[in-house]
């Protein structure tokens, strides 16, 4: 599974177990989890694991953080460590499809094919796990059950028609079954996907160079070759390329399309919200950032931006708790801390003349 998909799946999985604790309960734990989330976003998995460990040392009962930690270990292929964390969560939460999905992949890597098959069979009909058939096929293959593997992988190819990994595996099984014509068909599909990826990579380099060296009108001609209105990843990447070179207006279209094609893409929503924000279109930034925050509630940058966008829209009442959450995730960020102090002070000042009772209540908190 590609690292990004793994991460996204992890986040979706983790968000099913929203923390029972509030940030005020375990401020140190939240801060470490916030740091870990930032590192995960930057794919600094080894460092993220350390932060998760520090967070869990202070808040060992936090299911969401433990699941994020487990997926972080999974991403590094620290299989035995990841398994221990997932199994701990199964003890706490009972059997959960998301947990089974990851454990099955660990089973495959550990050559425990029968265990993987047992976990994956119930998931193949669950649309939340479109690659379950693929992993089931791999597990059957590992168990030496080639006919069942073939059937599962054929299902996987129907479920994931644009996934090169599926076509590659299916092609290999056809070859082993001496069905080279079918194998060649799958390899053709695999190669098409590979060529597309290479084209996008090369165009990406050219786009970055153009964005650095040419006026935006000329750069756009190069960069727009990345666009594919049916491919969320390509639209996201195009949007990110524009945004990373401060071409925020150009970024909006591709990022909007990415959110339409893949409404569960945290990166697409975050970058869309950020681009709106930096264009000072705060009213449009807010819903995008809210969506991103819902998909990844532990990511400081999103919450910080959302708070600022709410504040800029004049909704300090909504901004304050968001900024408090952001601050808890990253107390070392001086700007956010200062902004929070100012916002609290402003709120306090605003409420003081109207009601002495309210002021007392506020103080007593």
């Amino acid at each position: 599974m590609p690292a990004l998909s793994r991460l996204l799946a992890a986040l979706v999985l983790a968000s099913q177990f929203a923390p029972a604790q509030t940030p005020q309960d375990r401020p140190g734990a939240t801060a470490h989890a916030g740091a870990a989330a930032r590192m995960m976003q930057e794919r600094r998995y080894a460092e993220a694991a350390g932060e998760y460990e520090r967070s869990l040392a202070q808040d060992p009962a936090n299911d969401m953080i433990r699941i994020e930690y487990a997926t972080c270990l999974f991403a590094q292929e620290r299989d035995q460590d990841a398994r221990a964390q997932f199994e701990m969560e199964i003890k706490r939460l009972g059997e959960q499809p998301g947990l089974s999905y990851y454990l099955a992949q660990l089973d495959i890597r550990a050559y425990k094919a029968e265990d993987a098959i047992r976990r994956l069979k119930p998931l193949t009909a669950n649309p939340a796990f479109p690659k379950a058939s693929f992993y089931l096929g791999v597990a059957y293959l590992s168990a030496g059950q080639q006919a069942l593997a073939l059937r599962a992988l054929e299902q996987a190819a129907r479920d994931n028609p644009a996934d090169p990994e599926v076509h590659y595996r299916l092609g290999r099984v056809y070859m082993l079954a001496d069905r080279s014509a079918d194998g060649d068909r799958e390899f053709d599909l695999f190669r098409q996907a590979q060529q597309t990826r290479r084209f996008v990579e090369e165009t990406g380099h050219a786009c970055m160079e153009a964005l650095r060296t040419q006026p935006i009108e000329q750069a756009r001609v190069v960069c727009e070759r990345i666009a594919d209105l049916h491919d969320a990843q390509r639209m996201l990447w195009l949007g990110e390329l524009y945004a990373s070179h401060r071409a925020y207006a150009e970024a909006l279209g591709p990022l909007r399309t990415a959110t339409e094609l893949d409404p569960q893409s945290f990166d697409a929503w975050h970058n869309l919200g950020r681009s709106f924000f930096l264009l000072k279109r705060y009213g449009e930034a807010v819903p995008a950032l809210k969506k991103a925050a819902a998909l990844n509630p532990g990511y400081f940058d999103t919450l910080n931006l959302l708070a600022a966008a709410l504040h800029a829209s004049g909704d300090d009442a909504a901004a304050l708790p968001v900024l408090e959450r952001a601050h808890a995730l990253n107390p070392a960020d001086g700007a956010a801390a200062a902004a929070l102090e100012r916002m609290r002070a402003a709120r306090s000042a605003a409420t003081q003349p109207h009601s002495g009772q309210s002021h007392e209540a506020s103080e007593s908190r």
């Binding site: 998995y45 590659y168 945004a243 940058d301 600022a308 402003a346």
Partner: protein, 588 residues
């Protein structure tokens, strides 16, 4: 500025963009598997680096120490064991890079003659092999069947064919042979191969990528090129990949470029490195396998009609099991399961496993690296590799050299050293391997930045020694001292109908109930050349039966070959010479 503006501004600065195109080399970013308890079994081979004491004192220049501006300075080069004077003792050919703008006199390729006493004398100038340039790959073989091994080297710029004159000297015959490139290219892998079985060695060349100093930005000039936040050189990703090339030997000292007619140009371009020609399928026709960096590795299947068709993806030899490219650097071919079929070991970038591929027959290959226990070592960028029985127990072991590509990184990240130790896995049997972290001798733990590795018995004492190219250091020569009493057999082949070097032959030795296949190739490891005498550890067996599959297609069986000697087999005539090394050394 009011408070609201300030908050908005600060939050805007805090928002980070992460868009970045893939750069550098492919890696999966995985941590090592947890190690099991050591087996506790003794290992009977011990390695000591005797390189400098043996006379290998000159450093192999490759750019400047401590800083790399361009990818050409980083890839290092191969190294060769060869017997250029046919005295039965392995000599050494060391390729070299150079430094940009300063063709240093000490940066020449070097030839070292074996003094037959554990030392070597440099004879580069006498042999006519002095040359400064950006050398990468080497292949050794007798292309004109005159009984003396010739040398072909790849370079960034122009490759060179050196004809062995048979009197201790070589002549550059590149132009006469028709091997001049119309424009500079970056040749890397190269191997002699008789692809059309006419008894003449043809020449296959892989290329890494298109490069020139003027248009590729140096380190620090492209902000997208960084690793762990440190600016690094540009490439390979982002630079144009290249096609491979095949030259047919015309039999008159010249070659014809048959890249198009043989179908080599139909393969997708890639970042090609080590090239190995070997008969994987046992058809009697050699296939050609190329380890490719961050692009699919290539496996050209011989169609037996003058054409080769690239089928690496279809045969499971191009990608990892998830269909992803890996940074293929080195390639070693061998029978690590004693199954009688040839598999291979492919080395990759750090934070990735090596690939260990079992031969499944017509269905292709299956990566069993994790199952074999190799996933415990993912820390190092890995290069030259071998599947060799180092302790003569009858089970081929695994070795690979390592070394970083970005010397700047360790200054910011101490946990990413540029110089790293060698990796040795002992074969436990049953498809399982165990990394030897404390056994194997001091030379295994010594840290260098290494690239090419050659395997051979330089001191003719019945084991396999290891020769390693180190970046901007002298080569290491790891003398193997084996105890334990395991027996061995070396097989030297001389082709008659086949090419005289017998390159492309496969030998299957049967001993003590085991069947081990070995291929005679003209390049493997990382752009390097091994001892052409195939070495079989036999364990406690005192004899072995041999099946020889000659490059001509002929098969020959020889039964009951006594152990602890080198036998020379001439095609169609059986064993024509058998020597024990004690006698050869004058110690018998």
């Amino acid at each position: 500025m009011n408070r609201r503006d300030l908050i908005i501004l600060l939050a805007g600065f805090a928002a980070t963009a992460r868009a970045q195109a893939p750069v550098g080399m492919a890696s999966r970013g995985i941590a090592p598997q947890r190690r099991g308890a050591p087996s506790g079994r003794p290992f009977h081979a011990t390695f000591h680096d005797v390189g400098v004491a043996a006379g290998l004192r000159q450093p192999v220049i490759s750019g400047s120490a401590g800083h790399v501006d361009y990818i050409v300075e980083s890839m290092g080069c191969g190294i060769a064991f060869l017997d250029y004077d046919n005295d039965g003792w392995l000599d050494i050919f060391v390729l070299s890079g150079t430094q940009r703008g300063a063709m240093l006199a000490e940066s020449s390729n070097r030839l070292y003659r074996n003094n037959r006493d554990g030392t070597f004398s440099e004879v580069t100038r006498e042999a006519g092999l002095t040359h400064q340039g950006w050398g990468y790959g080497v292949t050794v073989g007798d292309f004109d069947n005159d009984g003396f091994d010739d040398i072909f080297i790849t370079q960034w710029g122009q490759n060179i064919l050196y004809h062995n004159n048979g009197d201790g000297t070589f002549s550059d015959v590149t132009q006469r042979a028709g091997l001049l490139n119309p424009e500079p290219r970056w040749g890397t892998g190269c191997t002699w191969v008789d692809y059309n079985r006419d008894g003449l060695l043809d020449l296959f060349v892989s290329h890494y990528l298109w490069f020139d100093f003027e248009s590729v930005p140096p380190t620090g000039k492209n902000p997208d090129c960084n690793y762990l936040g440190v600016p690094v050189y540009f490439g390979p990703r982002g630079l144009p990949p290249e096609h491979c090339q095949l030259y047919r030997n015309n039999g008159d000292g010249t070659f014809t470029d048959v890249t198009k007619s043989a179908g080599i140009d139909l393969a997708a371009p890639g970042y090609g490195l080590t090239a190995v020609a070997v008969d994987y399928e046992g058809t009697g026709w050699p296939d050609i396998h190329v380890a490719s960096d961050s692009t699919p590795s290539l496996l050209f299947r011989n169609q037996r009609d003058g054409r080769l068709v690239e089928r690496g993806v279809e045969l499971g030899a191009a990608l990892n099991e998830y269909g992803k490219e890996q940074a293929g650097m080195g390639l070693a071919v061998g029978d690590f399961e004693n199954s009688g079929a040839l598999g291979f070991l492919k080395t990759h970038f750090s934070e990735d496993t090596v690939g260990l591929y079992r031969n499944l027959g017509p269905g292709g290959f299956e990566d069993v690296a994790m199952r074999a226990g190799l996933g415990v070592e993912t820390r190092y960028v890995s290069w030259g590799a071998g599947i060799q029985d180092f302790d003569n127990d009858g089970l081929p072991d695994l070795f690979w050299a390592t070394g970083g590509v970005y010397p700047e990184i360790e200054r910011a990240h101490a946990d990413h050293p540029f110089k790293t130790p060698r990796v040795l896995f002992r074969n436990l049997g049953g498809g399982k391997f165990e990394q030897l972290l404390d056994l194997g001798g001091p030379a295994i733990q010594e840290a260098h930045c290494s690239r090419g590795v050659a395997f051979g018995d330089f001191d003719n004492d019945g084991d396999v020694d290891i020769l390693i190219m180190n970046v901007n250091e002298p080569p290491s020569l790891l003398r193997n001292d084996v105890v334990g009493g395991g027996h061995w057999l070396k097989v030297k082949l001389v082709g008659v109908k086949s090419n005289r070097s017998a390159i492309g032959a496969t030998v299957i030795a049967t001993y003590g109930g085991q069947h081990q296949a070995q291929a005679l190739s003209a390049q493997s490891s990382y752009l390097s050349v091994n001892d052409r005498r195939l070495h079989f550890g036999l364990g406690s067996a005192l004899t072995a039966d041999l099946e020889i599959r000659w490059p001509s297609g002929a098969k020959e069986k020889i039964s009951g070959v006594a152990a602890d000697r080198v036998v020379t087999v001439r095609e169609g005539e059986g064993i024509v010479k058998a020597e024990t090394f004690a006698i050869a050394n004058g110690r018998g």
